[in-house]
Symmetry: C2
Subunit: 277 residues, 2 copies
């Protein structure tokens, strides 16, 4: 059987998947896009040779990226998603009945088109009337946004082309776009393989937001696997969900919310680099 | 650079490591043993083409396998380690000053010899006078053991040759060998890739022990990564450490102990297979 060898330039382990069938292979102005069928993970989306999601376990990533911030906000109405052209994050956001408007700012139109055709399990909420899609650079889009309750970055790797979405300047625009009790969430790489990046993202967020925290979940199909998410808040404690879980979730619930945050001793040792490996 | 492609027959993802230098390659009567130097993980021990430990992150596995049970016991004096010929688990057990005697039952003498020569970072406690090494099948050794406080299985994969160490009969001998307040810990595979095995181990343990629980930690160099450990207890609550952490630990502490146990809602959903993926 053909193999797909992931070429994640920052990972010390390369992952190899079996390929049953390549469903799509093409180039957009921004990246190479591949969708293949795998015997073990269902359909897999690959951008520039890096696995973005698999049908089997994408809910781990999308639920945890989305629902922690969304449940800490007591009444999220206006939400911005930056990146996430596959639709998985938007699908999760729209499970909240409180939501009146979601702006999706995706740079690469082709990712949306390919996802609609080949990844219907994530690209299933694009017709929701509450959704407004903008094909644009999220770091530009955010400069014009305002009165937002929750902003979520669902980008490719923080150390690659998406670097501008992790810069202090971007975080300042995020804060300006948020209401006075808004929340921001972004993935922040692997605590096993890239914890220096995680630490840097946390430190940069702390320059801008009064409350910054870190949570994590193991994701088997992202190199390093101990996947971290950074959350920044202006008012609410990110460790405390304010509402019961919305319907239709598989992994996230209130207990998983609490558990996903690192114990304080561990967080401190990672941040001050006394736990180093 | 040469690559080492792991051949874990039960893993849907194959892991590929860079090899700087092969330090040892040979066969024992039981398995093929390789030690190589990797640019990212230091020295790596491979048995039958499956990575057993890397110098960089072995402490995740060895500390969590050992110290949860050891800290739940208020005064562990007599300990049995089955498998673990590399010495990492014995190294951790001997950090407890309460310990008077450790029996190591390892089937393959060659693993101990190779580890002493090439993996001194784990094989560093073999000269401790409290240690007694038995080159024998652990499932036989346990039949003769008695008055033990803590028994730890540090085997190769539960689905491979070490199957007998996960059988109900073995668990019955473990319980018989333990004192009336003893504890048993074993690794129980990946919650991402092999949760059916994890569930089976939990269910088998429950036939024998009154208290059975599950804890986990992400380990980047074991396929599936969300690595689970099963703990069985006759008297003490496994979620509650009874003593402050011993000295010389990197990852384990009382907060990590508590955190490593799954939230009950998640444990229940995994066990009754309503969280399935």
């Amino acid at each position: 059987m053909i193999k797909f060898i992931e070429n994640e330039p920052f990972s010390p382990v390369q992952y190899m998947y079996e390929v049953e069938k390549v469903l799509f292979k093409g180039k957009s102005p921004y990246q190479e896009i591949i969708v293949f069928e795998s015997p073990d993970f269902g359909r897999i989306l690959v951008l520039d040779n890096i696995v973005q999601l698999t049908e089997k376990d994408e809910f781990f990533y999308h639920e945890m990226l989305t629902h922690v911030a969304m449940h800490v906000h007591p009444n999220p109405k206006r939400v911005v998603v930056i990146g996430g052209g596959d639709g998985g994050t938007v699908r999760e956001v729209l499970k909240h009945d409180t939501v009146e408007k979601v702006y999706l700012a995706e740079l690469d139109k082709k990712v949306i088109e390919v996802s609609k055709e080949y990844l219907p399990f994530v690209a299933c909420a694009f017709d929701d009337p509450r959704l407004e899609i903008h094909i644009t650079d999220g770091s530009e889009f955010i400069k014009e946004a305002k009165d937002i309750d929750v902003i979520i970055v669902d980008s490719t790797d923080a150390i690659g082309v998406a670097r501008s979405l992790y810069a202090e300047e971007f975080f300042r625009h995020v804060k300006k776009a948020l209401k006075g009790d808004g929340l921001f969430a972004t993935h922040s790489e692997s605590l096993c393989f890239h914890k220096d990046v995680t630490i840097e993202i946390q430190e940069t967020l702390k320059k801008v937001f009064p409350i910054v925290d870190l949570y994590s979940i193991p994701i088997a199909t992202y190199p390093g696997n101990w996947w971290s998410f950074s959350i920044a808040s202006i008012k609410y404690n990110p460790r405390k969900p304010q509402r019961p879980p919305v319907k239709g979730l598989r992994l996230y619930d209130a207990e998983v919310h609490t558990w996903s945050f690192l114990p304080k001793s561990l967080y401190e040792r990672i941040m001050n680099k006394t736990l180093h490996w």
